[in-house]
Every structure is written in structure tokens, then in C-alpha cells.
Point group: C2
Chain length 508, copies 2
């Protein structure tokens, strides 16, 4: 890609870049599907600031000419002012120039950044507060390998053969027993094994939602739920999260006026805030759902990671009306790479999810399901969970201590009794994305708050996961962040004492 910039021109450099790229695409010198140079490389080649190239690419992005994907690059996805023409019927020799419809008709590729940073995860010198994931170094590899070996020896032939779409039956039985101990009564036929909670959410989306339907989500919430429920064909109703979880007055108001088809909620150690709904709120949520006949999708993925305080019954255990659909998985307490989760719901709904799952991918990985069943039946999951909980509690405490020491700057944060992360609110003039940009240069990573919002993102929030860093790393990382926040506050300080904006409703 040859670009020539005129530094004497009145046209800003970024506009020159955008205009020339546009021209190259129009002339066919760059084609749909071609990759543009990384902005850093192009900036170096042209001798301009990287932000100049970023701005130019943003223009082209806004034009719909290019799309980019974190970790992969920026691609030309459309040509300017070249009408796509009659796509299917024209059969003359020039038709081969007509683009295939994925070349032009697909929507702009959405940035899916919430699984990124895997490269950083491999670097030893980084402090990763990014992911709500189990600590890899605590995986009991030998014990798990023996479980895999046992099930392969015992029933390898059936595990490697095509199986039932509902999944490995002994694991279903185990899960039903475990849930019964926690007060969730369900029978065979009311459970479906899924590839993690994400697949359960996607199956529920496809089963319960039609285009145009409304969905209640907590705001902020799990990005994987945002990626499903905040697609353009649905309308989301974002309900704020307070110190007692989902704001039930706001929810009731929404239910009175609108007709959502489901309510997605993480009542225990909510992601990202760490907040847990108290018992009275749980009861009221169920009454509201029953009254307005809206199913609750309860995601209990962090439930068993409790380091203090008393366990509360899940919504499903409290549900006398049959309105709660329960999701869980082994991805937080066990091994996310295995993709084993489950959904518990009334039989009729499970049948529909089951039929849909069969169309989607036939069934899940039976070896992983059987190995998890064996691992759990031998008490190894419980042992692993206890060991992880001890470590995570220490790490959480190290994070609390470091925050108290290094964040004496008007920040506030949650101090959850379990889960994997702390939710931080910085002074309003600090932008967490700006903070991340600077922190990454010092090897500290976290997830900026805006990534968890469906709308109305609060730019001064962030999530710090405490499970994947050691206490020493946590101290170092939080210290680095604290200093950077002070620097940003100084840099962004108003010239005169400004009137502080009316305080927003405290999220936590």
C-alpha cells in the first residue's frame, strides 16, 4: 500500500490517509478481503503518530469499508460507490466480478474483545487482572488425567461413539443429586448438558426470543450475555445493579410497562460487580417474574466459589412457580477448556433445547463429560474447589489490602464474599480505557468497565480479577494501577475547582 502525504496541505493527515485508502479500494488496488497494514506499522512507515492512523481507520470503519478484529487485523469489507448489482440472476461472463454475498452483505464484524489478551496471558512478566478464570497453576493435572484414563478404560468405546444429545447420563444424575442437596429439585428429563453456560444462553436465546423481542439484563453484566442479547434484532432493557443486586424497583417498573421474554440474572457474585442478591430480594424477584409471567434465566456459575458468609438458596431452589431456568458450568470451579455446563428447566423447555442442540452440534464432548463425572464422583472436584477457595481467598484479601494501600484517591470498590473479581469505581475524571492503555505498557492488564455495559457505560469503572495472579503480583499490579490513577487524575485535573457533577446513583 503506497500512500503519499502532503504535510503542507490544509487537509489533516488522517483525512489524507483515509482518502487515499478509499481511492485504492475504489481502483481495485486493494480488494475486499485484503488486510490493511497494522496501524502501528503504517504509522511507522508514514512517519506519523499512531493515533493519526487510528483516526483514519476509524473514518473508513465508519464508512463501512473496513472492519477490524482484535488479534487478527483490519480488512477491507466493501468497496466505495460500487453498486453490488444484481447478485444472482445475471449470468454473463462479467458475473464473476460480482461479489459473493458474504463479501458485501454481512454486517460489520463486531469487535469481540472479551476473550482477547491471550497473548499477554502467556507472558510471565505481566500481571493479569483481566479474566474471571480459574488459576491454571492450581489445576490438579495428575488427578484429572487419571479420571480421563479411568473413563477411557471403562467405557472408551461408547464415549468415542456418537451419543445422546442430552449428554452423558451419569453426569446428569450426579448434577441432579448435587442440586437436590442445594434444594433444587429436578428430575431426569429436566436437565441438558451444554458446552458451557454460553451454549445454554444461546440455545435459550434461539428458543425463547423472536426478532423484536425484549430482554431484561443486568447492566453491567457478563459480556457473553451482551454478545447474545444486545444483537440488533432484540431490544434489551438494562436494569441497574445496586448493593443488593438487580434493582427490583427498576425491574418492576420495566415489567409494568414492557413485555420482556426473559430476565437474565447472575444473583450470586454477579459478574462484574461481585454483588450477591440477599434472600428477600431473591424472593421478590421470583414473585415479580411469576406475576408478570417472565422466565428468569439464573446463571449460578460463581455460586460455589464462596470464601466467607453463608450460602443463599438459588432462585431455582426458591421457585414455587416454575419460572426459573437454572444455568451452571464447571468453567469456574473446574476446567473451562472442557466446555461442560448444564441447564435445568421444565421438561417441555428442555425438550425444545434438546432438539435445538441436536440441530446445532448433535451433542457435547462425551469424554469431557465422563471425565468430569468421574473426577467429581471421586471427591476430587470438591478437594480441588477447597484448595482453589483457599488460594482465591488469599488473593482476594491481598487485593483488598493493596487497594486500601494504593487507592487512597477517592476510588471505591466492592468486597465480595466470593467469586473471582472486584469492581472498582475511580474518580469520575479517570477513564478506565485510558488507564488500561497506560497500564499495559507497564505489564498490567484488567478489563475496563465499559465492556460490561449494554449502554450508559460508566467510563470510570473497571473489573479486577484476583484469581489468576499471585498475592505478590497482585500487590505489584495494584500499586502500578494506583500510581497511574494518581497521574491521570493530576493530568486530567480541572484548571479551576469545577462544580462536581451531581453524583450518579452509586452502582455499588
Amino acid at each position: 500500500m503506497i500512500l503519499e502525504l502532503d504535510r503542507q496541505s490544509h487537509m489533516p493527515l488522517y483525512e489524507q490517509i483515509a482518502a487515499q485508502v478509499r481511492q485504492l479500494i475504489r481502483r481495485g488496488a486493494i480488494k475486499v478481503g485484503d488486510r490493511l497494514p497494522p496501524n502501528r506499522a503504517l504509522a511507522e512507515r508514514l512517519g506519523v503518530n499512531r493515533s493519526t492512523v487510528v483516526t483514519a481507520y476509524d473514518e473508513l470503519l465508519a464508512d463501512g469499508l473496513i472492519a477490524s478484529r482484535v488479534g487478527s487485523g483490519t480488512y477491507v469489507v466493501a468497496a466505495p460507490a460500487s453498486p453490488p448489482g444484481d447478485n444472482a440472476v445475471a449470468a454473463d461472463s462479467s458475473a464473476a466480478l460480482t461479489p459473493l454475498h458474504w463479501e458485501t452483505a454481512l454486517p460489520e464484524l463486531r469487535h469481540e474483545e472479551w476473550l482477547a489478551n491471550s497473548e499477554a496471558a502467556r507472558r510471565k512478566d505481566c500481571v493479569l487482572f483481566t479474566h474471571a478464570l480459574p488459576a491454571t497453576e492450581l489445576f490438579p493435572l495428575d488427578e484429572f488425567r487419571r479420571s480421563v484414563e479411568r473413563v477411557l478404560r471403562r467405557e472408551g468405546r461408547s464415549l468415542l461413539q456418537l451419543g445422546a444429545s442430552s449428554g452423558y447420563e451419569p453426569l446428569q444424575q450426579y448434577l441432579l443429586q448435587q442440586m437436590a442437596l442445594a434444594g433444587v429439585r429436578a428430575e431426569a428429563g429436566e436437565i441438558l448438558l451444554t458446552s458451557g453456560c454460553q451454549q445454554a444462553l444461546d440455545l435459550l436465546r434461539q428458543t425463547l426470543l423472536q426478532p423484536g423481542d425484549e430482554v431484561v439484563i443486568e447492566n453491567p453484566t457478563y459480556p457473553g450475555a451482551l454478545s447474545l442479547f444486545c444483537q440488533p434484532q432484540y431490544k434489551f432493557i438494562g436494569v441497574p445493579v445496586g448493593t443488593r443486586g438487580l434493582d427490583l424497583d427498576a425491574l418492576e417498573d420495566a415489567l409494568r410497562r414492557r413485555r420482556p421474554k426473559l430476565i437474565y440474572v447472575v444473583p450470586t457474585f454477579h459478574n462484574p460487580t461481585g454483588v450477591t442478591m440477599d434472600l428477600a430480594s431473591r424472593r421478590r424477584l421470583i414473585e415479580l417474574a411469576a406475576q408478570y409471567r417472565v422466565p428468569i434465566v439464573e446463571d449460578e456459575i460463581y455460586r460455589d466459589l464462596r470464601y466467607g458468609g453463608a450460602s443463599l438458596p438459588s432462585l431455582k431452589a426458591l421457585d414455587r412457580y416454575g419460572v426459573v431456568i437454572y444455568l451452571n458450568s464447571f468453567s469456574k470451579v473446574g476446567f473451562p477448556g472442557l466446555r461442560v455446563g448444564w441447564v435445568v428447566a421444565p421438561r417441555l423447555l428442555i425438550e425444545h433445547l434438546h432438539a435445538l442442540r441436536q440441530r446445532s452440534d448433535l451433542h457435547g464432548n462425551l469424554l469431557a463429560q465422563a471425565a468430569m463425572a468421574d473426577f467429581a464422583r471421586h471427591g476430587l472436584l470438591q478437594k480441588h474447589l477447597q484448595r482453589c477457595s483457599r488460594h482465591y481467598a488469599q488473593r482476594r484479601d491481598a487485593m483488598f489490602a493493596a487497594l486500601r494501600q494504593y487507592f487512597q484517591i477517592g476510588a471505591s470498590w466492592t468486597e465480595p464474599e466470593g467469586g473471582m473479581a472486584v469492581w472498582l469505581r475511580l474518580p469520575e475524571r479517570v477513564n478506565s480505557i485510558e488507564l488500561l492503555t497506560q497500564a499495559q505498557q507497564q505489564g498490567v492488564y484488567f478489563t475496563p468497565g465499559p465492556r460490561f455495559y449494554a449502554g450508559g457505560a460508566q467510563a470510570n469503572t473497571l473489573r479486577l480479577s484476583f484469581t489468576t495472579a499471585t498475592p505478590a503480583q497482585i500487590e505489584t499490579g495494584v500499586k502500578t494501577l494506583g500510581k497511574l490513577v494518581e497521574k491521570l487524575m493530576a493530568a486530567n485535573a480541572p484548571a479551576r475547582a469545577s462544580q462536581s457533577a451531581a453524583p450518579r446513583k452509586a452502582l455499588v
Copy 2:
């Protein structure tokens, strides 16, 4: 459920049953979600033929009051003449009686029978010609277990942790190398690992199709494709399959008149017919697709199961236009229970499939992907494939021999050079579903032809898979079928020499 039949009534017994069940549902004595007695049990209790109950249930099914699922039972899904009422807004105390929308608003559960018969598979005394699946007894369990152990020892921590949505990278590299040897040139970024071909098909469906879009499928074809592409929101164009595969004249005619968004085709050892497209047909298919700008989805799942003749290049290897999307998996040559498949397509499309896959289930099972990569890299997959091919060739030959011996009755069948099954055409007056009903009583199972048709099913066709039965079982089973066909022909023989219908276009 208490029913009383009046055997003196002019009302047929099945109508009496249907009417009384309708009444019980209306009165609330049977509720939505309740399970009806199995038809065999009800028939016994009432002292009627099972077919009487089946007919009654069919009536209720046609009314939309009940739905059934093989292996699970028949359920009440709606009540007659009870308007669902205002679902979400009414907030008075009677609202709790309003059904949740999955209780009434979901479409009738479709019969998904193509994975059924798993119970029969466990019985030793049965002959199973039902499934196009690898022979379980040939699985090299020890070798595969050592692969699993090796990868867990070497990289267990990263395999059990959350990974990239595109899948285990070394397996992608291996597959790209293997495909390059077969003339398919593709680079990193043009491949995505999926949970079998089924997930690849579903991701393609969601990416390439909008409601109302048209799809070209072979007719008959793989039932998993039917379950996706013959949903009510799409229109399918079923193109017949002849001795050289997809009827290209019919295809061209369809392309000239209509605007399908994709063409799904199994060019090598087509399921269910076993037919392979010759080279000239492959070239012409690609030219047509390029000319009309319709992508081809090429499913090459049976490709490597060849027991004679020369291998032909895949469509993807012949494609100079970038119109072919290539699917394959380890489910036929390896282990279907692991759910490891892949799709190769232009980079931009892969990016979209990748993003969608992340929303669907984050990623596939990394342990299975890594174990397959290790198993293949050590030459064990090739060795396993050779061993299976020897056995499958013997089994296929045993089936050909048995068919020649026991089907001297005007039947015809395909004799494919590979794959897993033979497609059989019986004399027109024999119905393969009727044949199956009788064969099952003698412990012989197969898949009736109509299950593979999108429409215009030919009732006298059936598929006999030869991979999951031994040569001795094959002889026994085919002999049983041959006798039953003769019996059915005698029973269904016309009283006088009827004018035979004009022969349909021979499918094969």
C-alpha cells in the same frame, strides 16, 4: 388417564380416543407438560390395536395439542380452545395461571429421529444397518488413550483453560498440511475448528441465511442438513441426485430462475445414496456456482473412506473462484463422540463464523482437538483408517453379495466405492417404513429412505449402512429383509395385473 370406548358406536375407536383425550385436556384433567401413556401401553390397557392409538395420537398431533419425541414420550403442549390471554401486562393475582410462553408459544416439537435407535445399538442380538457410523469395536482405544495422556502431560494446563475460539492451533496446522497434499490451498485464518460438521453447517446457516432465503440441497440428503435448511423460515430447492451426483441440469434450471444463498452438496460418497460426482460434473458445478455467484458448501466427511477406484479432487481443490466452503470432520474416520470437525473458507467468512462461534459456545473442547492432533501426527489415524477400510470393504462386499443372493425381486441398489452405506430401491409397492416395522420385530434395523428427503420422498427406498455390522450379521440381516420384502410384495400384490406406473426418474 381414564378412557371408555364404546365398541357399538359408529364413531371409529381412534376418534373416540382422540375426542376423550381432547376433553380431558380441556377440562384440565391432563395439563400442558403432562406425558401421555406410550401408545403400546395405552393400546394394551384399552384392548385395541396399537395402530388405533397411533392414529388417535396423530389426530391430536395434527391438532397441535400434543408433541412427541422418540425415546422420551408424548406430551401435551397446548389446550384446545383456551385463549392464552394477555401474557405480560396483566398483573392481578390470576396472572399466575397464565402460561409461560414456552408452554404455549413454542412451535410443535419436530421429530428428530435420525439419532434414535441408540437403545437397539446396545442389544447384541440386533443387526444394525441404521447409522452411518464407524465400527465401535475397531476403535484403537489403547493408542488413543496414550494420545490423550501425552497431550495432558505435555500441555494439560493450557488445554483445560479457556482458549481461542478458532480452536487448537496445532490441529489447524496439521489439517492445513493434509489438505494441501490433497490440493486444497488454505492458510491460517482460513480454517475454523468446529464441533463436527453439524456445527459448521449451523454456523453457516446463521451467517449466510436470512429468513425467507432459499437454499439448494440435494434430495435426498443428510438429515442433519435437512434439520437446519428445511426449517419454515427458509425455502429449500431440492435437486435430485443421479448416478453422477447432483443433477446439474436441474440445478442450472433452478439457478436461472431463483436466487439461492447456498448450495449444500456431498460430492463424494453422497449420503444416503453413496454416489460420487465425476470430475466433469465437479467442474461444471463450480462453473455454475461461480457464474451465478452462489457459494457451494461442500461436505467431504466420507472422502477418505475409499475402498476402490481413484480419489477425485474435492470441489475446493478445483475452485478457482473462491466460491467453495469446505467441511470435514473426524466423525467418520475417527471418533464421532469427540465432536471435532473443521470448515475452510475465505478469511472474511471465517472471521464471521469465528465471531458467531464465540457467541455460540466460546470454543470447542481443546482436549479432544489436541488428542486428535497427537493421534494423527503419530500416524495412528492413518493406521486406524487403513484398518477400518479393510473391514468396511469386506462388510460392503458382504452386503453386495447378500443383496445379490436375497434380493432377486426387482430391487436395485448402489454399489459405492466407499463411504458407509448402500441405497436400496425396492419394488414400488413396498413401503420401507412398513418394512422397518416388521424388520424390527426380527431384530433388523435400517433407515427408511423418506427420512432423507426434503420433499417428494420415495417410499420404496432405504439406506443400509454396512459399517456397524459384521459380515455374518450382514448376511443374516439382509436375508431377513429379503424374505420380508417378498412377503410384503405378496401381501400388497394387486388383485389383477395392474398397469405399472410410469417409471420415476431413476434416482441411481
